[in-house]
Structure formats: C-alpha cells, structure tokens
C-alpha cells in the first residue's frame, strides 16, 4: 500500500502547477460538427471544466502506476491537471478492525477496503464541473482526517490512480481513457521490498508476510483481471517512454478538441449577439450605464487621454470607481428599524438600515483591483475575493488560474463582481460561471465595470439571461467602434496604466 495521498499536482489553486504556462498548442485540428449540438434559442456558456478528461490508472502494487501517472502529468503539461490516489478513499476502520490493522492482520489490499462508492461520487462530481472535496485518509488513525479535505475545482484533466483504478464498473464508465500498468509480480515484490524497507523502515519479515498473506493473493484474484478493462496496457519495467508518448499524444489531441469547442461556444454567444436585436439593453433594466453627467464625461476624457500623467490617471480612476460603487450600492440590502432615536432625541419610525455586512465582493485580477481603494473607502471591512483568469495568448481562450473566494460566499445577498473593462466578455463569462459553481445566485451578482463594449455585454446577457445586474461607466456600442474611432475601447488599458506595468 502506498501512502502517497493526493499528489501535489492536486492543486489548491495556488500550487505552482496551476500557474505554469502550458506550452502553446501549435496545431489546431479541425473538428467535425457532430459533437456540437446547439440549442439555438437557449445559448449557454459552457466552461471547459464541466467535462474534465478523466484518466484511470490501475495495476498491481509496486507495478509503477505512480511513476506512469506522473510522467503523463508532466508530459501533457496542462495547468489544471489533478492526480488523485485511490488511497484517499480507504474506509474508516472500526475499533476492532483498527486493532487488527495494527497487528498487520487487516487486509488493506482487497477491493472492499476502499470506499469505491465515495470515489465514484467525487469523480462524477468533478465530471460535472462542481467544486469537489476529496477526503484525506490518515494511516495512523485508520480514519478520514476529520474536517480536512482537499478541495478541487476547475480541473481539466483528472488522473485517478490506484490498484483498483480499473475495478469498479461505475468508475470505469466515467473514464475517458483507462490505462493498466503491468509488471510481473516478482518485480512488484522486489520494488515493494526496496520501497518499504529502504524508504519506510519496515522489517523484511513483516513485508514478506504481508505480501504472502494479502498483497499477492489479491493481486492475482482481483487486480490482474482488471487488465481486460484497459484501453492500453503499459509495461512498467525498462523503457516505456514510447508507450507513454503515444498515450500522451492521444490525450493531447482530445484536449485540443475540448478547447476548440470552448472557443466555438464563446464565438457562438458573440454571433448571436451581433445578429442584432437578440437582446437589447433597453429591455433590460438591470444593465445600468452611469448617467453621462459633466463630471463622468470629464473623468472619462482624462482616462482615455494618452497624455494624462499617471498621478492624475490614478486619481480619476479612483474617483470613477467611487461613483460606480456608490451607484452599485444603491440597492444595498436593507431592513427596517422600528424606532430610531436621533442624537437630538427625536424618534424616527421604521428607519431604513443598510446591511452592508451582507455584501461581499470579488475582484478579477488585475483590472478589478483598480477598485480596491474605493471599495475600502465605501465598505471598509468588506470581504474581497479574487479570481485570476488569463487569456491564452494564442487562441484567446480564457483560463482560470486561481480562485480565492470568501467563505460562505453563497450566503451573501449581494456580490459585487469588479472588473476594469469588459471587452470580449469571455473572462467575465468564466468568472460568473465560477461564482455560480460556488453556489452564488445570478440575481445576487452585480457586475461593476468602468468600460464595456456592447458585444461583450451582450455575450454575458446571452449566456446568463438578464438576472445579473450590470453597472457600467460607459457602454461603447458596436457602431461607434466602427464609425467613431473608438477602437481604444477594444484594448485593455485601464489596469495597465493604473498599475504602471505592461
């Protein structure tokens, strides 16, 4: 039994793996249309992680599953790859079983020792793109570590590895590719012995005893037969690079298809919107453009002026942010206080009180951070979540690189989603989807942006309907971008100048 829990690939979003830039895929495959069936009337944003690619890796103990799985992880080189070991799903033991385990009399190597139903639940939840908590098993207490789990969200590739990786039929049905790592049992024993004795300090006698009593019989009885479930059988010993490379090439081509489909979906949301009159802003009272007062116009002029020095630029962006936030907070949740006594000892019946504590915010790094100063000046102790979404420089596909969200984010009545500019709208779509996955309701979200293009806004509305409130400093219409020299609106410049780094 290997004590590897969940590998470090299993990324809390901050793990370095996630921020690694993937190699840019250079070849784009043309895909058949058969896989895309659209509901024209009900377009929806489908983020890439709703269909993670699931790889199952099985094989006897000591066959080298972990090293094959790690090889695949490093070779496909996609940031959102998660490696899960079935060891996390060992069943908690009763006191009596636990006692036997300490005497090395409990059989950890039979399928019944693993909670395959829980593993199925977790993998199918990941397959649906939901945030999923993977249990952590303590081999010291023979129980799940209480209150501790590893949350996984937004994975593109999930590798499930364990001796019974290819055993359970329900799990097999979830997998896109099944790999069996084969090795002669003598070799497995040799590897187990060196691993257990050298790295784990166990004694030879105990190891051989365990092998004879549990590991080998189970391997023969239960593990070997799962070979027939595999799509590919990989030799463990010697050079298996060619076999792994072949597999990785196959996996990569599937991933390319997925990303292509994602981009097509994004384009489709845009096509519908440019096919005019699909949704108009006038019919949507939840899209509010700031009244173009003298001050708003003058501030905007300062912001777009390329000769505006950074001192003034930062100052005016802060002012703009304050105006937008005040507007967004006009709908702050309120309650009535039966009687309020003023400092001059008069009473006000049914006084309106704001529940600023029911508001939270999420900033889209980096452009949303332009709001930070003003957010703190509006609701000083507001919780601030952050999402890092970057566009692939080659394809424009948005990618979620990190999410740091307030606890119980779904319990707030109003969530301000802060972003500098909506241009194509794709990163906003992804941000909203993440928040939905965290249980936030659309009608509780308010998107606050300085500038937004018509096309970006329409894409958001096409994808999510008109439940989300949107407060915009200035909407730039398609027509103006074409006719009135407003191409400046299609590049990201506010955060670049605000922070003074490219």
């Amino acid at each position: 039994m290997s004590s590897t829990a969940v590998e470090e690939y299993l990324s809390p979003p901050s793990s370095p793996n996630r921020t690694n830039h993937q190699k840019k895929r250079k070849t784009r495959r043309s895909s058949g249309n058969s896989m895309m069936s659209y509901d024209r009337r009900n377009p929806k944003y489908v983020p890439p992680w709703t269909t993670p690619y699931i790889i199952g890796v099985g094989g006897p103990s000591g066959s080298g599953k972990t090293s094959v799985a790690s090889k695949i992880v490093s070779m496909i080189n996609v940031p959102w790859t998660v490696l899960i070991s079935l060891d996390n799903f060992y069943k908690p033991l009763t006191a009596e079983e636990s006692e036997r385990a300490f005497k090395s009399e409990y059989d950890f190597d039979e399928p019944a020792a693993i909670d395959l139903d829980l593993a199925y639940k977790c993998i199918s939840s990941l397959k649906e793109g939901k945030k999923t908590d993977i249990p952590i098993y303590s081999f010291v207490n023979h129980n799940r570590v209480p209150g501790k789990t590893i949350p996984i969200y937004g994975a593109s590739v999930v590798i499930l590895e364990g001796i019974y990786g290819l055993y359970d039929e329900k799990l097999l049905n979830l997998m896109d590719i099944k790999i069996y790592v084969d090795a002669d049992l003598d070799v497995c024993l040799a590897r187990r012995l060196s691993r257990d004795i050298v790295s784990r300090g166990r004694d030879l006698h105990g190891c051989i005893d365990q092998w004879e009593r549990f590991v080998k019989p189970n391997a023969v009885k239960y593990v070997k037969p799962t070979m027939k479930n595999a799509d590919a059988i990989i030799p463990s010993m010697g050079e298996n690079t060619i076999a792994v490379t072949l597999l990785v090439d196959h996996i990569k081509s599937r991933l390319d298809l997925k990303s292509e489909k994602h981009i097509m979906e994004l384009n489709r949301l845009c096509e519908i919107s440019s096919g005019h009159k699909y949704i108009t802003f006038a019919s949507n009272p939840k899209v509010i453009e700031l009244e173009q007062t003298h001050q708003v116009k003058a501030i905007l002029t300062m912001i777009v002026d390329k000769d505006c020095d950074r001192d003034s630029f930062v100052f005016f962006v802060d002012r703009f942010a304050m105006i937008l936030l005040s507007k967004a907070l006009d709908n702050v949740p309120v309650h009535k206080q039966e009687s309020l006594t003023t400092a001059s000892n008069y009473h006000i019946q049914n006084a309106l009180r704001c529940n600023f504590d029911r508001i939270t915010s999420v900033s889209l790094i980096r452009s949303g951070d332009c709001f930070m100063k003003s957010v703190r000046k509006t609701i000083p102790n507001i919780t601030i979540g952050k999402l890092l979404i970057q566009s692939d420089s080659l394809t424009g596909e948005p990618q979620l690189h990190g999410e740091f969200l307030p606890k119980d984010i779904a319990k707030f009545q109003n969530l301000l989603v802060l972003q500098g500019q909506v241009i194509t709208g794709t990163s906003t779509l992804m941000a909203i989807q993440v928040l939905l996955d965290y249980g936030v309701k659309l009608e509780h979200m308010t998107l606050v942006v300085f500038l937004a293009t018509e096309i970006g806004l329409k894409r958001i509305i096409n994808a999510f309907g008109n439940k989300i409130a949107i407060i915009v400093g200035k909407i730039i219409m398609n027509q103006d971008m074409k006719e009135s020299h407003m191409k400046w609106a299609s590049s990201r410049f506010i955060d670049t100048k605000y922070f003074g780094c490219k």
Partner: protein
C-alpha cells in the same frame, strides 16, 4: 439622478443606500468613528453632485490608439469656503474630488451682547471673484450664519449663481430664509427634514454635527 424639490435646490436621489447612511449618522447610538466615516460618505456624494453643476468645455484628446476622442474638460476655477467649525468637516470630501482646491474659511459666532451672528474671521482666496465657490456647512437650520457667510462672498465679488451651498440636512424654513436673501445660490443637500423645534434645531436632525464629528 438628483431631484429639484424647490427652485435652485438639488436633493440627492433618496435611494435605500442614502437613507440608510442618514439613519447611521442620525442614530444617537452611533459612535464617532462610524459617524465620521458615514458622514464622509454622504459628503462625497454631495460634492460629486455639486461638481456636476459646473460647466464644462469641449476638449479633444488623443487616445493611446491614436484616435481622436471628443471629450469635455473642467471649465473655470473653483474653491471651497467652509464655515468654521462644522463646515471644515466637509473639506476633505471636496479635496478627495479636487486635489489641490483652495479652501477659504469663515468664522461666525453668536455675539454675546446682541445674540446675533457676528463675523469673527475670514480668509479667502485673493481671486475668489473669478471662482465657483462651494460653501460648506453641514446643517441648514435657520440659515443665519450661511446668509452672513454668503454675504461676505458676494461682497468679495463672487456671483451668486456661482455659489453652491452644500449641506447634509436642511429644512424648508432654512431654504426659504436663505433663498429670500440669495435666490440664485444653488443649495445641494441630501436630506430635507420636517422643520425646526423651539430651540431652532432641525427635527429629527442628528444633534450638533461639529460636536459629533470632532469631540464627543
């Protein structure tokens, strides 16, 4: 969008948020840090509203993409004039919107002998006659000191239509008194209270603004 309940009076939109902010600062139980913070928030809204009444001029600028942008620029010089002491609480709000704005001060106290307001001190920008003036005083009750302060400004050559009198709370009585003297001055306010009591305090009011902001 602000409303104009009376001629030359701009009242901030009475949104849930604004009314809720006033509940906080009116509340007897609100401690000073919160009183200051939430007063400042209201003041900021008043200043933004006041600034919107200033004229702008056409200003074309070049964007980073090299395109021409038909924008507007601020026109004319402004300054703030606060009525010491409570009015000084509004200076920061003005400065938060206009970084290097000049701020004049006027001190008016009740004369012990006559019981009438008396001008004790004034320090104003030299060229105030050429400026738009934001007169700052948080409470407009009877309007006695505001009228005297405005009188000082007019005597220094400021045009009445270039004066904006910013306050947090006013009453109809105060507006009428003030506009009887200076009908062309625009009052920018966030709350219209019911009236005044026998001691000429606003009802329901919020107590002594200066004390709550600076001392208690």
């Amino acid at each position: 969008m602000s409303t104009e309940p009376y001629k030359n009076v701009s009242l901030l939109p009475q949104t849930n948020q604004l009314v809720g902010l006033y509940s906080i600062i009116r509340d007897k139980g609100t401690a000073r840090p919160d009183f200051i913070f939430y007063s400042d928030r209201i003041i900021r809204l008043l200043v933004e509203e006041g600034l919107n009444h200033l004229p702008v001029e056409k200003k074309d600028v070049l964007t980073h993409t090299g395109e021409n942008f038909d924008g507007v620029g601020f026109l004319g010089k402004i300054c703030g004039v606060s009525i010491v002491r409570a009015g000084e609480s509004m200076e920061q709000g003005l400065r938060d919107c206009c970084r290097s704005v000049r701020i004049g001060k006027i001190l008016i106290q009740r004369d012990e002998e006559t019981a009438l307001p008396k001008l004790f001190y004034e320090k104003l920008p030299e060229d105030i006659a050429d400026r738009y003036v934001f007169l700052l005083d948080p409470m407009l009750a009877t309007g006695g000191s505001a009228i005297m302060a405005t009188d000082v400004l007019i005597k220094r050559g400021v045009k009445p239509e270039r004066i904006f009198f910013l306050n947090l709370i006013c009453s109809k009585e105060g507006i009428d008194n003030y506009h009887a003297a200076f009908p062309e001055v625009r009052i920018v306010t966030g709350a219209l209270d019911k009236g005044l009591n026998e001691q000429k305090y606003l009802v329901p009011g919020l107590g002594d603004f200066g004390d709550r902001y600076y001392c208690i």
